[in-house]
């Protein structure tokens, strides 16, 4: 049913792409006598005469991305192998302008990144967007969550240079949790005259947290997750300097993980005196609250782009069974600096240096290994745009530390390791 509808729409809008349809000539409007006298490139064929095509009402866009990776040590994606082709992402979205101020749309997304995979396509975002004034609009539904410079675009390979965004501020394993929320968002922009422009967003909703979000040992399973709320705000200031923007984001969330323990594990805990007699095997892990703060700066000048962000993630975790699940207050520090340069019209190069400290207070229980508490990532990327719809990327990472590695796949990780990625993406 859905495929048939999509097929029909695709047939109707076969040319749907970032640059949509040809301009319409009004019914009854005589074709203008304008002709490009000199502007088309020399040797180019003469442009076709104007033709009548209606403005697009339904837009369909999508992307398919596939790649490969090689690691010198450790297992970043949880693929049980140091090399693989599990670097797949695909999405398709539909959107329409219901009225001049009201938009509606949705995107289906799926991916397979080692142990991070969607068994079936899921809704990435689906919302109504009513822009009442330039300074105030509202979105409702499953809405992308503004977070730093790039979180709203974390799933869009074609919209950035790196294959992997700096993992300190944009951890790939948290992407599904942080990408969007279900609720409401307000947004707008306000001109300050000579003072530049402000752009702002605020939101309230709940998070959709997949069962893979919590790393559990054998004998434990995640029964349910209750995100009581997520709220936040983002403010960007564009001073009267072309290409410069400075901003800050604040996010606060409250999350309860309800975990079930099997009978063998309960019996072992009771026998060891870690759980009381008659313990029912129910475990509550409450992160109330989790708070993120991000400071961001980006400067685009000509073919250069410079970006830097500094972030602190504060987690207050409590547990109904402290002997099994630790209680802690963690203050993680995350930062990176990035530069990119367009070497030629189709070739872009760049790199970043990213730093992640799991806990600035260096609490032993949070990172038992000697280099599990930090990760430094020096990355370099080349991007080649074959045309407007097809690109290739090549990327290298040199890592020191293992803080962002999934512990269940890395029982004895190496401190120094490298990763090389190749990826191609098609958009339409």
């Amino acid at each position: 049913m859905v495929a048939a509808v999509l097929g029909g729409l695709l047939a109707a809008r076969a040319s749907a792409q970032p640059a949509p349809a040809t301009a319409p000539a009004a019914p009854g409007e005589p074709p203008a006598a304008a002709v490009p006298a000199q502007d088309p490139p020399a040797g180019a064929p003469a442009p076709p005469p104007p033709r009548a095509v209606l403005s697009p009402r339904v837009e369909i866009h999508g992307f398919v991305s596939e790649g490969a990776f090689v690691e010198t040590a450790n297992d970043y994606f949880g693929s049980t192998s140091r090399a693989g082709l599990e670097l797949f992402e695909a999405g398709i979205n539909l959107s329409t302008e219901v009225t001049d101020r009201l938009r509606a749309g949705l995107q289906l997304f799926t991916r397979d990144l080692g142990s991070i995979r969607d068994p079936s396509p899921r809704l990435d975002w689906a919302f109504l967007d009513y822009r009442w004034r330039r300074w105030l609009g509202v979105r409702a539904g499953i809405v992308k969550m503004p977070f730093g410079l790039y979180n709203e675009y974390a799933d869009i390979d074609a919209a950035r240079l790196p294959i992997l965004l700096p993992s300190s501020v944009y951890p790939i394993r948290d992407r599904d949790v942080l990408l969007s929320h279900t609720g409401f968002g307000l947004y707008g922009s306000y001109t300050l005259g000579r003072g530049g422009e402000l752009e702002y967003q605020a939101w309230l909703g709940t998070l959709t947290i997949p069962r893979t979000a919590l790393q559990l040992t054998g004998g434990a399973s995640l029964d349910s997750v209750n995100t009581r709320y997520v709220t936040g705000g983002q403010l960007f200031w564009r001073p009267p300097i072309d290409g410069l923007r400075l901003g800050a984001t604040f996010v606060r969330a409250s999350i309860d993980f309800h975990v079930g323990l099997d009978a063998a594990l309960v019996a072992a805990l009771v026998a060891a005196g870690l759980a009381p007699m008659g313990y029912d095997g129910k475990l509550l892990i409450a992160q109330r609250p989790v708070r993120f703060l991000v400071g961001s700066v980006e400067y685009i000048h000509g073919d250069w782009l410079f970006a830097a962000e500094y972030s602190r993630w504060l987690t207050h975790q409590r547990s109904s069974l402290p002997a099994l699940s630790p209680m802690f207050d963690r203050d993680s520090e995350k930062l990176y600096a990035m530069a990119t340069y367009r070497v030629a019209p189709a070739l872009e190069a760049g790199g970043y240096y990213s730093v992640f400290h799991l806990d600035v207070d260096d609490m032993p229980v949070a990172h038992p290994g000697p280099f599990d508490g930090f990760q430094r990532d020096l990355a370099a990327t080349l991007r080649l745009d074959v045309n407007d719809h097809w690109l290739w990327k090549l990327e290298a990472h040199f890592m020191d530390g293992t803080a962002s590695l999934p512990s269940e796949f890395n029982s004895h990780p190496d401190r120094y390791w490298g990763m090389f990625l190749l990826r191609t993406t098609v958009t339409f």
């Binding site: 000539a25 304008a34 992307f63 872009e348």
Partner: protein, 146 residues
Amino acid sequence: MRPGTLRFVVAAVVSWLGLVLASAAGGPDYKVIVHPDNPVTEVDRAFLRDAYLRKASVWDSGEPIRPIDLAARFPVRERFAQDVLRKNPSQLRNYWNQQIFSGKGVPPPEADSPASVVAYVLANPGAIGYLPVDTDTGRARVVGVK
């Protein structure tokens, strides 16, 4: 500061000023047109940028803004993007990929000739378009860019 370094800094500043003055002396090598019923006689670059990046949606009159782009094979498109949108082609492509795949918006419709731009503007009261300076604009009205 060493004399060599000082000479380099002075040369860089003078070159930059020269570029700024040169670009200020010459007007834009495109012209902007609107529907003949549109009361606007002049637009500033900030308004044009917001209109073409789909950040502004209505004119002061309340009429929806309907920008129209030229196909990428026309060099005036890149010049317009650099001068008004302050983005090179890859930056503009990234911007629209961000907007499209986050559900925030889609680019303006694209005309395959300057004549199509004129036809679109004449057909839509809220339309705005840009053209090479030597293009016949028909009944569409040319507005100043400040």
